[in-house]
Symmetry: C2
Subunit: 250 residues, 2 copies
């Protein structure tokens, strides 16, 4: 049963909402990764299959683009499909809808297989078997843009990665990078600025205990943040976060 599209339904519980009582970008990132995993398992290309060849899936790029974030007790669905595959990458998209079919937003992701021992890119020939499940479904939001080098006036902050920042791959998890960047804003900031789009690209893995610098350059009256996480001179992650104005009444 190899379905081109795979859908899961969720209820947005209060405890999983952020201070503005709606879904957070980091929660959506976790959902997107979960639904991708379940679909990959169903297609026979999940983590357990890759591990047979000594490989594991890692996320290379992720874009979240939301018109509206669901609120407390709202039921939402996440539908995923494969846009393209080759021996090195799998491109997978997501549509987030209400139970009534209102489109809340989209996500795009690019995955690669790496060899667990060597931590280098692996040959995903087995993905060629996926060509027949590539879907024609449209994802109307732009792909992950080229993320620029940081401007000189970026604000830099230190952080040391902890045990709970790391996942089964024994490296820092996508969700933690997103939180690390969002944490550069205050509660007051998010009561007037809401994330409309978040693009993140992973260049190098980070490990537990590593000391990094988090750089953020706010542009255009805080409507765009250019971001990077660096370990010494090595750029681990680049990101761009776009905000829209809103007013959250406490």
């Amino acid at each position: 049963m190899r379905q081109k599209e795979f859908t899961r339904s969720y209820t947005m519980t209060a405890a999983d909402c952020g201070p503005e009582s709606v879904m957070t970008p980091q929660f959506l990132a976790a959902m997107v990764i979960e639904v991708a995993t379940l679909h990959a398992n169903q297609l026979g290309v999940g983590y357990d299959r890759l591990m047979l060849d000594g490989m594991t899936w890692v996320l290379s790029r992720l874009s979240l683009d939301m018109t509206r974030w669901p609120g407390i007790n709202e039921v939402f669905t996440v539908t995923t499909w494969i846009e393209g595959v080759n021996r090195h990458f799998s491109e997978r998209n997501f549509e987030i809808c209400t139970a009534d079919g209102e489109v809340l937003g989209y996500a795009r992701s690019v995955w690669m297989g790496i060899r667990v021992r060597e931590r280098s890119g692996g040959d995903l020939s087995l993905l060629e078997s996926l060509r027949d499940v590539v879907s024609e479904k449209r994802c109307p939001v732009p792909p992950v843009p080229r993320l620029r080098a940081m401007p000189d006036d970026a604000v830099s902050t230190g952080y040391t990665f902890t045990y709970c920042d790391c996942d089964f791959n024994r490296h820092v998890n996508t969700v933690r990078y997103i939180e690390l960047l969002l944490n550069r804003g205050s509660l007051d900031f998010y009561d007037t600025c809401q994330v409309s789009r978040l693009d993140i690209a992973f260049m190098h893995e980070a490990r537990c205990g590593e000391e990094v610098t988090v750089e953020v350059a706010a542009e255009d009256n805080d409507s765009v943040w250019q971001c990077a996480v660096k370990h010494g001179d090595t750029v681990l992650t680049r990101a761009m976060i776009q905000f829209r104005k809103h007013i959250f009444n406490v």
Copy 2:
């Protein structure tokens, strides 16, 4: 349809597993809170019902007691039921099982309603309507113990709560307290010591931006940690974490 017992089934995805490739305590805490929320909604005593009276649910105490943590791609169920209710508290238990019915562990929780404006305990008279859904199902693990004051030789570390540490209640989330405590151990520590039980009690709320101290006293050859999170002299949270020896081969 007021069911005394409410069950949800989940697949433990790789990305939600910790560095030892099994479910983490913080993930279980989030699941337990989610299942409690869904059951409360079904019983008509969810957050939206309490908000009509200007109240919100807060977790007062939580115990996680696991014989075995599920691993990658394992299907597990969380069953919840109410053990007792009065006008001030609701006691809710959880059984975590495999798809085959193997019991993996239990959780206990104590919830209270607080008035959103005054941040003080509210009158949960509406809970009296729940007496007929109190279940006789047994929870064979001990209740949350009395958590002791910290010994003088505790190791103290500073931390400042961030935006992503806070939830819809605009205070620090249960999951974050658990992570804050677990982060006092290293990756190497957890490769040889696995959490067998975690008890946590919440005395006072913490807010975004608050600077706190995290105190941990390791006892009995690192088999038990006594923990506290303090804001000045005010104890926000006390906890006890019990570990069993295991060997995780990287």
